[in-house]
C-alpha cells in the first residue's frame, strides 16, 4: 500500500510517499521538503500570507519530485493524503486543494489528515509501536501529553495553558537577539553557559494535572536579562542554560504527571513517544531518556527530520486511516483548529 502525503500547515511545504510494510511500520520511499524559514526570518515569526504564497509557489513541483524520487506515479498510488489542519488556514487550503484535485483527477481515495495525529502516529511508522502509548508532543505550535489509544482515538492528559515549549524557546531567543527559529540557537548558547546562575521559576511543578505553563518562565527570563543588561556573551549563554534547565525540569515533571494519569486510565503504556521540533534538543532528549529508564518505559523518539513537520507522517497517517476505510470526500474543509481529543475542554489562549 503506497500513499502520497502533503503537508502545508505552517512554514514547511512537504510531500512524501510511504509504503506500508506487511510486518508493521512503513518504508519512506521519498520525503521532499521545502523550508520557508529564510522568508520569515526578518519578521521574527511565521507570516501567514507569506507562508501561503510560498506553499503555492513550490507545491506541484515538490509533489512531482516526491513521486519521481519514490520511483512511482500517481496512477500507482493507493491514496492521496493531506494535512487539513490544525494550522494556518491559507497554507492548509493550498495543500488540501492540491490533494483533493489530484485525487479527483487520478480517481484515488482522498484522506484528510489531522497534523497532530500525524505527529502522534509517526512512532508507528518508524518503530511499529503498538497502542496504547503515552505521547509528549512538544513543537513550536503545540505542547501536549496524550494517551494514544488507537487511530482517531486520543485522550488529552495535559496541555499548555499559554505558550508552547518551542514558542518559548523562540521568544527567549528573540529577546536575546538570537536568530529565528530560536530553539537550536538557544541550545547552542546553553552549552557554553552556567545553568545555575539565574534562578528561574518552574511553573506547575508538582501539580497533579499534567498541564504546562510557560509564560511566567519566559517573563522571568526577560526580567533577569533586563536586570543584567547590556548583555555580554557570557550573560546570553548563562540565560540560555538557565532557561533550558528550567524547561528540562518542567518537561520531566509534567511527563511524570502524564504517566500517572495514563496509568490510572489505561495501565502501562506500550511506549513513551516524544515528537515535535523540540525533541531534537539533545539536552532535553537526555533528560527524557533518563526519566523513561527510571520509569521502565520503552522510549521512542523518531529521528529529527520526522519530529518536525514533514510529508512522511501525513502519508503514514493516510495509510493508517485507509486501512480502516476512513476516507474523506471533496467537500472536506480546512480546520484551522482541530483538537486531537474532541472531548477535551478547549484551553483559553492556550496553544493546545
Amino acid at each position: 500500500m503506497d500513499v502520497l502525503g502533503i503537508e502545508t500547515t505552517c512554514d514547511e511545504t512537504a510531500a512524501a510517499v510511504v509504503r506500508m510494510r506487511p510486518e508493521g511500520g512503513g518504508d519512506i520511499l521519498s520525503n521532499e521538503i521545502s523550508s520557508q524559514v529564510a522568508e520569515h526570518a526578518a519578521y521574527g515569526g511565521v507570516v501567514p500570507e507569506i507562508a501561503a504564497r510560498a506553499h503555492l509557489e513550490v507545491i506541484d513541483r515538490l509533489i512531482a519530485r516526491a513521486l519521481d524520487a519514490a520511483g512511482t506515479t500517481l496512477r500507482r498510488l493507493d491514496a492521496i493524503a493531506a494535512a487539513a489542519g490544525p494550522g494556518l488556514v491559507g497554507g492548509v487550503i493550498v495543500g488540501l486543494t492540491t490533494a483533493k484535485a489530484l485525487a479527483l483527477a487520478a480517481r484515488k481515495p482522498f484522506i484528510a489528515v489531522n497534523h497532530l495525529e500525524a505527529h502522534a502516529l509517526t512512532a508507528r511508522l518508524t518503530d511499529g509501536v503498538n497502542f496504547p502509548y503515552l505521547l509528549l508532543l512538544v513543537s513550536g505550535g503545540h505542547t501536549q501529553l496524550v494517551a494514544v489509544n488507537g487511530v482517531g482515538d486520543y485522550s488529552r492528559l495535559g496541555t499548555t495553558l499559554d505558550d508552547a515549549v518551542g514558542e518559548a524557546f523562540d521568544k527567549v531567543a528573540k529577546m536575546l537577539g538570537l536568530p529565528y527559529p530560536g530553539g537550536p540557537h538557544v541550545e547552542r548558547e546553553a552549552l557554553k553557559g552556567n545553568p545555575t546562575r539565574f534562578d528561574l521559576p518552574r511553573p506547575m511543578l508538582g501539580r497533579p494535572a499534567a498541564d504546562f505553563s510557560l509564560s511566567g518562565l519566559k517573563t522571568a527570563v526577560r526580567i533577569e536579562a533586563e536586570r543584567v543588561a547590556p548583555l555580554t556573551a557570557t550573560d546570553v549563554g548563562d540565560l540560555c542554560a538557565s532557561f533550558q534547565a528550567a524547561i528540562i525540569d518542567l518537561i520531566v515533571d509534567r511527563a511524570r504527571a502524564g504517566l500517572r494519569a495514563f496509568r490510572e486510565r489505561k495501565g502501562h503504556p506500550e511506549a513513551f513517544v516524544v515528537a515535535g521540533g523540540v525533541a531534537s534538543n539533545a539536552a532535553i532528549r537526555r533528560a527524557i531518556a533518563r526519566f523513561a529508564g527510571e520509569a521502565g518505559l520503552r522510549l521512542v523518539i523518531p529521528p529529527p527530520n520526522l519530529c518536525t513537520d514533514n510529508g512522511a507522517m501525513i502519508a503514514w497517517t493516510g495509510i493508517e486511516r485507509l486501512r480502516l476505510g476512513l476516507i474523506d470526500d471533496m467537500t472536506f474543509a480546512a480546520r484551522p483548529r482541530w483538537p486531537l481529543d474532541t472531548n477535551a475542554e478547549p484551553v483559553q489562549h492556550g496553544k493546545a
Partner: protein, 227 residues
Amino acid sequence: MQILAIDTALGAASACVLMQGQAEPVAGETLLMERGHAEALLPLVDRVMARVEGGFDALSRIAVTIGPGSFTGIRVGLSAARAIGLACAVPVVGVSVLASLAAPLFAENETSVAVAVVDARHGNIYFQPFAPGGRALSPPRLSSLRDAVRWIGAGPFRMAGPGARALAAEAQNFGLRADVVGALSAPEIAFVARLGLISDPETALPRPLYLKPPDARPQDDGRIARV
C-alpha cells in the same frame, strides 16, 4: 483540443469544459459566493467532468484565473488547476481576471475603451483598460479610484467587474462617459476557457497575479540590549 477552465478569484466558483472550434462549453457550472470557494470548487469540478465524455482523460489543457482578486481564491483555483494538470499530464495556462472580465466587451463591435475593474478594498481597485479589439492599454494596475480615472483618459468607457460601478461613478464625477455593461461579480467562465485556448503555455504561466505585497512588517521589538 478540449480545455477545462476554472475560476475562484472573485465572487463565484466556476468551471467549464470547452472544445476548440465550438462556440459553447460542453458542460459548465457557476455558483455565486463570497466565501467557501475552497469547499465548493472540487465537488463542482466533479459534477462538470461527469458530463464530459471521457472525463479527465479527454482534457488536453487546463486554464485558470490567476488574479487579481481574493488571495485565497486565487490560490484555490491555482492549486486545483495545477494539480489536475499534474494528474492528467497536460499543460496549465494562467488567464488574467481582468482580461476575462473585459473579453465579452471587446467581443462585440464597439469603439469605446473597455475597462475591467476589481475591488481591492480600502477605496482601491485593480484595473486595466483595453482598446477596441482587445489590445491592453496598460498592464494591470492597483490604485485609488481617483488615480484610475486620471489614468484611463478621456473615454467613453464600458466597464465590467466587481469594481465597475464605483469606477464608473468616479469617472462620471469628472464628467466622463462610462457605462457599466459587463459581468459584475466574476468573469464568465466560457471566456476564461476561450482565452485559455488561445494562450501560449510557454508564456501564460499558471502563477498568481496578486498585485499587492503580503501585509507584514519586520518586528524587532522586545530585544534586550547587548554589549
